[in-house]
């Protein structure tokens, strides 16, 4: 159980995240929705301490994450993987090395400086890439990939961390609908098959409804909704999104709702459903 207690991030004159308290049982797939600037990203980034909270605490196994320092903090980040909107891969390294960086926490100083990875690291990375249908790109330089491919590599990097939690910060906001669907399906599979808790920032409502067990709505840094997708009424959603309602409800570019059947050839090329045993 991941417990947030009055977690706050305040800037000079406003609170980006305002005293949010939440209990997230392990194994859940949680979607955090809200308009731009609602504090979604800040909340997520505080969970792995890429952003420093200014108040409150995050408790897991009786330990306060907000107090971790040094190697303990690195250990927490290693167990709490993150996927970013802009993928944050190292463009000039090949794909497999990018994935293997997910093992860096377990390396000693010399091995990581000399970029020495073990056979086991390589095997683990290839298995992760294969689950996402990306094994064939292993030796390609990462910046030659398309956006959707990069995000799948980023998920593979998260997988080799063998994390308990997977944070995804707008993972599909830069992707086209087909790739958005592939990435969301992959996250859902990871959640269901591996039992990894997935906490995902999403901009569009229908994606959150389609994939998440639980939806958390933020507005101006405040928690305004917490419940099952079915409980999220249209009125409540309008309150969360405010002026951005039209955009959030429309099945736009970042939506995963495809109103046309995906051609079989595209599915075969994309592969992850097959590789992850989701093909129906």
């Amino acid at each position: 159980m991941l417990k947030l207690d009055r977690l706050t991030k305040s800037f000079k004159n406003r609170n980006a995240v305002n005293a949010i308290s939440l209990d997230i049982p392990e194994g859940q797939m949680v979607g955090i929705i809200g308009r731009s600037g609602a504090g979604k990203s800040t909340l997520l980034r505080m969970l792995n301490r890429l952003a420093e909270p200014t108040g409150g605490s995050i408790i897991i196994d009786g330990r306060d994450i907000t107090a971790l320092k040094g190697r303990d903090l690195l250990a927490w980040r290693a167990t709490c993987a993150m996927v970013f909107q802009q993928f944050n891969l190292v463009g000039r390294l090949d794909v497999i090395t990018n994935v293997m960086t997910g093992r860096l926490y377990h390396h000693n100083f010399l091995a990581s400086m000399l970029q020495l990875f073990t056979d086991e690291d390589r095997a683990r990375a290839i298995r992760a890439l294969d689950r996402l249908g990306m094994a064939h790109t292993a030796l390609q330089q990462a910046d030659t990939l398309s956006g959707g491919q990069m995000q799948r590599v980023a998920i593979a990097r998260a997988l080799v961390q063998e994390p308990r939690f997977l944070l995804a910060d707008e993972p599909i906001a830069s992707l086209d609908p087909l790739n958005a669907k592939i990435v969301m399906d992959a996250l859902r599979t990871i959640n269901q098959d591996d039992g990894i808790t997935v906490i995902c920032n999403l901009h569009t409502l229908d994606t959150a409804r389609a994939y998440c067990d639980r939806i958390i709505g933020l507005a101006d840094g405040n928690l305004v909704f917490d419940g099952a997708p079915e409980a999220l009424t249209e009125a409540k959603a309008r309150e969360i999104y405010g002026a951005e309602s039209a955009e959030a409800f429309s099945e736009g570019l970042t939506s995963t709702t495809l109103d046309f059947p995906i051609p079989a050839a595209a599915m075969a090329a994309a592969q992850p459903e097959y590789a992850m045993g989701l093909a129906r």
């Binding site: 690195l74 993928f87 190292v90 463009g91 997910g102 400086m113 970029q115």
Partner: protein, 310 residues
């Protein structure tokens, strides 16, 4: 219909945007003109002061120029066409007027030139290694904290703020006459100068990969090694090659204070003979520097070209 009408009848009356823009533009131009005049005046005052201080007056210049040519006259070789390519005779003596006579000490010169190049190579490698270690804490966006940033910045300034020749002078007293003093002196200067350039490259690097490595639990060293180094390495290589060219020139100078290389021979022939041997050494130095420049330019193009293909 004017623009204000579009805003609606209920909107408060706004000033005409064109007038507003013109007024703003005129004000900016006035400010810019004042600034330009100020800088122009400052430039002229500075120029006048520096002419006065350095006594750069036309009459002194007129008196000095003939003396320059006079000196060049004394160090020019006297070559005679008939014997130009004549070798040494049985007694091992070269004929005056021949190339062999002019470059009688060629073997020594070549040995010293090779020493000069290797001094530059060693100093560049040592200096670049130090610069590589310093450039990450000295980059504003990467430094782990401001104290480390400040210390590494000041240290690099100290390294490059003093000319090589001064470091060489001190080191000759410390470690004795010979190339090692020159190598260390040039390496120190290189560490400071390259470190600053490297740090600037780092400051332009994308922080996304760094954040990616941070998020997997990588420490600061791993963030640098994986997040930054792959991005900046081609630039580092190019700057290091450029520095090698500069260091070949530097290492042919430090010999003047006894720190090894061709400079010591140049110093010797100038102060002892001031004859055609000065030009002989100068020609070899110019040839070497040009050759190294051309070679390293090719190499840099090779690296940059390789980058563009990807």
């Amino acid at each position: 219909m004017s623009y204000t009408d579009i805003a609606g009848a209920g909107a408060p009356q706004q000033p005409n945007p064109t007038d507003q823009f013109e007024a703003h533009r005129k004000q900016m131009r006035r400010e810019k003109l004042a600034m330009n005049l100020l800088f122009g005046a400052l430039f002229i005052v500075t120029l006048a002061i520096s002419i006065h201080v350095s006594r750069f007056y036309p009459d002194r210049l007129a008196a000095g120029i003939p003396r320059i040519f006079e000196y060049f006259g004394t160090i020019m070789p006297h070559l005679e066409w008939q014997v130009l390519f004549e070798g040494r005779n049985e007694a091992g003596r070269a004929t005056p007027g021949s190339l062999a006579f002019w470059f009688a000490d060629l073997e020594l010169y070549l040995r010293l030139i090779i020493e000069t190049i290797f001094m530059a190579l060693t100093a560049t490698m040592l200096g670049a290694a130090a610069a590589f270690l310093l450039c990450f804490p000295a980059a504003k966006n990467l430094a782990p904290n401001s104290a480390i940033f400040w210390i590494s910045r000041r240290f690099m300034e100290l390294c490059r703020g003093v000319p090589e020749i001064l470091y060489a002078l001190i080191l000759v007293f410390a470690v004795g006459i010979g190339p090692i003093a020159g190598v260390i002196a040039i390496a120190i200067h290189t560490a400071g100068a390259l470190g600053k350039l490297f740090a600037e490259v780092n400051e332009n690097a994308s922080l996304r990969p760094v954040e990616g490595i941070k998020s997997v639990g990588g420490n600061w060293f791993e963030q640098m090694r994986y997040g930054v180094v792959p991005q900046v390495l081609p630039n580092f290589t190019s700057y290091t090659l450029l520095r090698f060219e500069i260091n070949v020139r530097a290492s042919s100078i430090v010999g003047f204070v006894g720190a090894g290389g061709i400079g010591s021979e140049l110093n010797r022939v100038i102060s002892l003979y001031s004859d055609d041997r000065v030009v002989a050494v100068l020609i070899l130095i110019v040839l070497t520097v040009t050759l190294i420049d051309l070679l390293s330019e090719q190499l840099r193009f090779y690296f940059i070209g390789k980058e563009n293909l990807k």
